[in-house]
Each structure stands twice: as C-alpha cells, then as structure tokens.
C-alpha cells in the first residue's frame, strides 16, 4: 500500500514528464537534416541518438522530433553513409 496519491501535493516530489526542461528543440544552433535518398535504414542514428529524439517510421526511415532535438550532431557523425547534414538554424 503506497500513499503517493494522498501525499503528492504535500511532499516535494516530481512525476515523469516529456519536456522536463521545456521544448529543448529551441536550444539548437544547427539542425540535422536526413537525406532519405542516401539513407540506408541501418538504424544507427536511431540507436546512437543520445536524446531519444529519432524514431523509426513505419516505413523504416528515421524521423527526428524537432521539438526536442538539441542539435548535438551525434547522428550526423555516426551515420555511415553521411546522409545527415547539420544545417545552421539561423541564416547569418
């Protein structure tokens, strides 16, 4: 028997939530763009994305959640066929 429900307001606690630091997509300076023609659907970008913001579509291609992608560039670095390019968010 646990008492979370009765005590959640009284005690300092937090609950699981996506976006616990807000829409971290706004942090980006560079945006990863996937060239789907070049993409071999190897899944390495999905597995190596440190943020869990690349999902596998039903057709097997990766799709990036730009609301939360921080633009670190790991996906671009690890893609074996260089199908992901980092593009500046703001045109200087």
């Amino acid at each position: 028997m646990t008492n979370i429900d009765e005590l959640a307001e009284e005690l300092p606690i937090s609950k699981p939530n996506i976006g616990s630091s807000g829409k971290t997509g706004t942090w980006r300076v560079e945006k990863p763009i996937i060239d789907l023609d070049a993409c071999k659907k190897c899944d390495i970008c999905i597995l190596d994305c440190v943020e869990n913001t690349i999902d596998k579509r039903s057709d097997g291609y990766p799709v990036i959640d730009y609301d939360y992608c921080k633009g670190c560039g790991v996906c671009s670095t690890v893609c074996p066929v260089k199908a992901i390019k980092m593009v500046a968010e703001v045109k200087m």
Binding site: S14, P16, N17, S20, C49, V50, N52, T53, Y68, T77
Partner: protein
C-alpha cells in the same frame, strides 16, 4: 525503457542514453538513487517533472550508497525484488561519498552502484576530481592535473564484492551484457562508465560516441570485468594488450581541448601510464586479484 526526451542534459551528453540502456535491461522495478551531480539537474524539478520513467530518490552528495543500502533493506522486508541502483558521478563516488561507497561495498549491500565518470565535477563547472585524468585541464587545474586517475574499479574489487566492470556507451552490446549480468547477481555490483562530456572535455558535441570509442581503442579506457575477484578483460579490449594494436594516444587527445598545450614530458607520462596499466592488465588477466 525510454528516458524521456526534452530533458536538461547538454547536447551530446551521453547520460540520457546510458540511463536508457540501463533501464532497458533493469526494467520498471528499479529505484535510482541520484546524489548531487549533473543528473540531479537532468532529473528536472517539481513543476515540469522528471525524464525518468522509474522512481528516483534524490540524495545529498555523500549519501547515495547509504540511502541505497536502506532502500535495499526495506525492499527485503516488503519482499519486493526491486533493483536498487545508484547513479552517481565521479565526484560523489571517488571523493565526497567515498566512505559511504566503501562501507556499502564492505557490507556487500545488495545494490548496483553505477559510477558515470565524466572525469571532473562537471555540474559545478568543471573542477577536478580524483578521477580526472593526468594532463587534463579543469578550472582548478588550469595548468593541467598532475595526479593520476584513482583506480576506483580495482579499489572496489579489493573489497571482495561479487562484480565489478568497466563499460562504455560506445559499445552498447558489451554495455548491456554487463548490466544483464549484474542484474542477475546479488550483492554489491559496481559498474564504472566512461561518460564523455562535451563541455567539460571540450570537444564538439557530435563526437561523443567517437570519443568513447577512441578511449577504448587507445587503451586509455580498458573494458573488463572482475567477477568474484577474477580479472577478465572484455573481448573488445583484448587486442589492446598488444601495444601495436592500440591506436596512438594522440588520436584521443587531439579531439579534446582539455588536453591541449601538453608538454612533451606530460605526454610521455601519459603514454607511460597507459603502457604500465596494460602491463598490469596482461599480468592479472584471468587471475584472481583478491587474496
């Protein structure tokens, strides 16, 4: 299990991915004890919530191993076979919380202690810890650190605990295999991760996985297990017993600005450290370390 996106980790920080992989193996009946560290901030706040899908118990800096000991005892009374996992940085593990870690290891507490080693007190802005490597720049060692890394996995192994391992998120299969093995065991299990930190080590955020790989390939970060006192080099690291197979240290150092400006003497010392470490590994591999 998904470590939820939109968290406070720096771009390129491996922590969310490391926790993701651990929870994939450990599952939802896990309680993570988090002492003061980057992860405290990454775990969010009372208003916006936390990115962890499992229970997290926040802990004062030096207390994580002890809080975990208490949780473990309570779970036994509840007859709940939950996994109690400490997720602590190098500062908490090797410095301020060392006594508690040593105590928990000595008592063989039934917990999994994971040290994610980003090689400095990163959360407070890159100050040196006893796990900062020789030659690294930090704000408190601006002319490079001249003490060598405290050999924590070996120290813990000498406490006669059932399982010690080093791992790296750049080698996911090996990483998960070690956590699977740890999960199946009882007693004090200690896993030490090399956790590359883009702002602290001063490398481009996109290179995290590469840096982790180079650490292993240059021999700087040997992957091994010490099971019931027997040292076992992991298959990935076995080739590096042969010095010729180890990539030049330079390849690892030049990507990280924390190692820029090293003198030839300092570089020689770092090379000697790696060579001596591997001489030691060659000697003890497959043998029992503990008397």
């Amino acid at each position: 299990m998904n470590f939820l996106k939109g968290n406070a980790a720096c771009p390129g920080c491996p922590i969310p991915k490391e926790l993701d992989a651990i929870l994939d193996v450990y599952g939802k009946k896990t309680v993570i004890v988090v002492p003061a560290s980057c992860s405290t901030v990454i775990m969010g706040d009372t208003v916006l919530g936390m990115p962890s899908p499992v229970n997290v118990v926040h802990s004062p800096f030096a207390a994580a191993a002890s809080i975990a000991s208490g949780l473990s005892a309570a779970m036994k009374f509840r007859k709940d076979d939950a996994n109690i996992l400490v997720w602590a940085g190098d500062g908490s593990t090797s410095d301020i919380g060392f006594a508690a870690v040593s105590g928990a290891a000595e008592r063989n507490e039934d917990i999994t202690y994971v040290c994610y080693d980003n090689e400095a007190y990163m959360n407070t802005g890159i100050q040196r810890s006893s796990l900062t490597p020789y030659g690294a720049w930090t704000t408190t060692t601006p002319s490079h650190k001249h003490e060598f890394k405290k050999p924590l996995p070996l120290i813990i192994a000498m406490h006669n605990v059932p399982y010690v391992a080093t791992a790296s998120i750049s080698y996911l299969a090996d990483f998960k295999a070690k956590f699977s093995k740890a999960k199946s065991m009882k007693g004090f299990r200690y896993i030490h991760l090399l956790s590359p930190c883009p702002p602290g080590w001063k490398f481009d955020a996109g290179l995290t996985m590469n840096i982790g790989k180079l650490a292993v390939e240059t021999g700087m970060w040997p992957l091994y297990e010490i099971e019931n006192g027997v040292f076992k080099l992991s298959s990935i690291s076995k080739p590096y017993i042969d010095k010729a197979k180890r990539k030049p240290l330079e390849e690892y150092l030049r990507l990280q600005d924390r190692f820029s400006g090293l003198s030839s003497e300092e570089l020689a010392n770092m090379q000697a450290y790696i060579d001596e470490m591997w001489n030691y590994i060659a000697k003890v591999n497959d043998s029992k370390l503990t008397p």
